[in-house]
Symmetry: none
Subunit: 379 residues, 2 copies
Amino acid sequence: MQDTALTAVPALSSSPARLAAWLRLERCAGIGPRTASALLDVFGSPDAVFAADFAALAAHVNPAQARALLQPPADTTRRLLDATLAWLDRPGHGVLALGEPGYPELLSHIPDPPLLLYIRGDARLLDGPCLAIVGSRNASVQGRANATAFAEALSGAGLCIVSGLALGIDAAAHRGGLGGPSSTVAVLGTGIDVVYPQRNAELAAEIARRGLLLSEFPLGTAAVAHNFPRRNRLISGLARGCLVVEAAVASGSLITARLAADQGREVFAIPGSIHSPLSKGCHLLIKSGAKLVDSADDVLAELSGFRPSGRASTAEPRAASQPATGLLAVMGHDPVDVDVLCERAGLSAEQVASQLLRLELEGRVTALPGGLYQRLEKP
Amino acid sequence: MQDTALTAVPALSSSPARLAAWLRLERCAGIGPRTASALLDVFGSPDAVFAADFAALAAHVNPAQARALLQPPADTTRRLLDATLAWLDRPGHGVLALGEPGYPELLSHIPDPPLLLYIRGDARLLDGPCLAIVGSRNASVQGRANATAFAEALSGAGLCIVSGLALGIDAAAHRGGLGGPSSTVAVLGTGIDVVYPQRNAELAAEIARRGLLLSEFPLGTAAVAHNFPRRNRLISGLARGCLVVEAAVASGSLITARLAADQGREVFAIPGSIHSPLSKGCHLLIKSGAKLVDSADDVLAELSGFRPSGRASTAEPRAASQPATGLLAVMGHDPVDVDVLCERAGLSAEQVASQLLRLELEGRVTALPGGLYQRLEKP
């Protein structure tokens, strides 16, 4: 199975001409991913874009862009094609193109999906549901332990863990993902053939073996600061939701969380001490509408198609296994107030309040707005 | 001013006959606070209720309740009246009746306001805006420090701090309230002349001098478990909002928070480590819609008429506090044991123990039950 996956994916490697057209479009000066995506919507394929004349192009892009599209590919692009074709010859390497088979469905719907994705590893991971886990590079020991524990539990529940291969929370999340059956995807801010950061080289190699490395950047792209925040839209875009484990207030993780929200993804955050600067970012997210989670089950509960394991839940009412006697028996199944219960049970308000408290703590009665109480039955 | 306040309040003490009627209504068997409140809406005063005949009463209550209202007051009620009149003779003591001058406006709008409030101290505190601060009796050292810091900052911003005089968070909140100009109100679960818990006797005396003690229970009412949750509706009912500092999942603090929400009050909760059982209740509240706060300013921002100070937030470490280095840096903000610290710091158990002792003496680390240690930040 592993071998099949590793050879079945690189759709573009079998067609150097098609890859050439994709690379030419992707590398074309003045054409960003949004413009390229719009051109593909109109013309259908890179080949068709390059077959169009000035008038046809200028109906959709500005004159400078139309002129750029009519230029032959630059020498650097030709050399990049050769290098990419050579790279694609190795097992487990692939290139996915927007709108073609294998390109991740969720990612294709973000406003600015990459035209090309370079992948190395188990491409099947992109077919299943993913969850992004991100956080500070300077994470606390507890934060890293939390990242690994959540990632492993969620990988166990069927979610592939997506992160950015940074030090700290990212690396801890990848390790947790590898620890479960749904593995992990690392989205790089460099070319897929560049190892960065060096301290994660061994982890990257393990992810190439048992997970998936992914990058939108051409081969050989070195680590440049501005590529990392840009890359973050892929981390959120690949995933159903984004969990922030630890983050300072002004941090890249908050940018990823904001991108996730913009992309319509669920945003989750783990709270912590109000005195920890690494929890401030998470608290800010929760104040802005992110879901507070203190267990992997809390994440699963928010994602359609997933079921909390029931193991670590904190909110389950206790089962009402005992028969209804006393106050519970006179309560019936409709909302009632304390006065009515006093009357029905022949008890004082104090006695009723005391019994209600006990029943509430046992999860057998629930309080409703307006001072009403109702029996709580487990289905 | 203080003397004026202490003598101006006890409206009912000047009219033994009126107090007698109020006490007779409040003590009447089978009549809960809602029924009593409804009767007062119809008849206007306790005197008028007791002047009505069976037919007039039975138009509004059931026959058993009407018969109870026609009975003369019990001997115990007569003796209670004498004791209450004697108690009212002392300065600073008062009784407020529902719908009469001095009764707290916000409290009068809850579904089941007490007919009578016994007060001792500075009654003017009931005229200003209040904020409830509640939490666990078995609070952590950091939780108590947070309660005091938030209470002092909010008292400084003009909010009188309401709590329940319990050990732990309640006591810490009262102390913080006393530390600011807006002081504190303690709502007792016993008669106002009963000191409970004994360990807070000195605090109660200080609150009687510079704050206000308040109870709905008749004089001499001993500490009975079921009266404390019942009392919680007053803590929330007196206040504009309710802040939960630390709380377990099945705890009275969560019931107070739920009462606050039912009464239309803002609910605030301080987050903490997902591994601390004392934060689980706060997290549950935040999941259910309570506002996560990590500074007093966060509370003020939600209350109309108040402005965040914009000062360094409650949660900011003091400028004076040294940076966390060595053992402190690897400790994080969650409870950890010595083994974990040895591993993280690469030190021997002896070295860790020695450093922990020094940090504890410096007040930078606190020891918790179960051999755990936690960093302590001075807000």
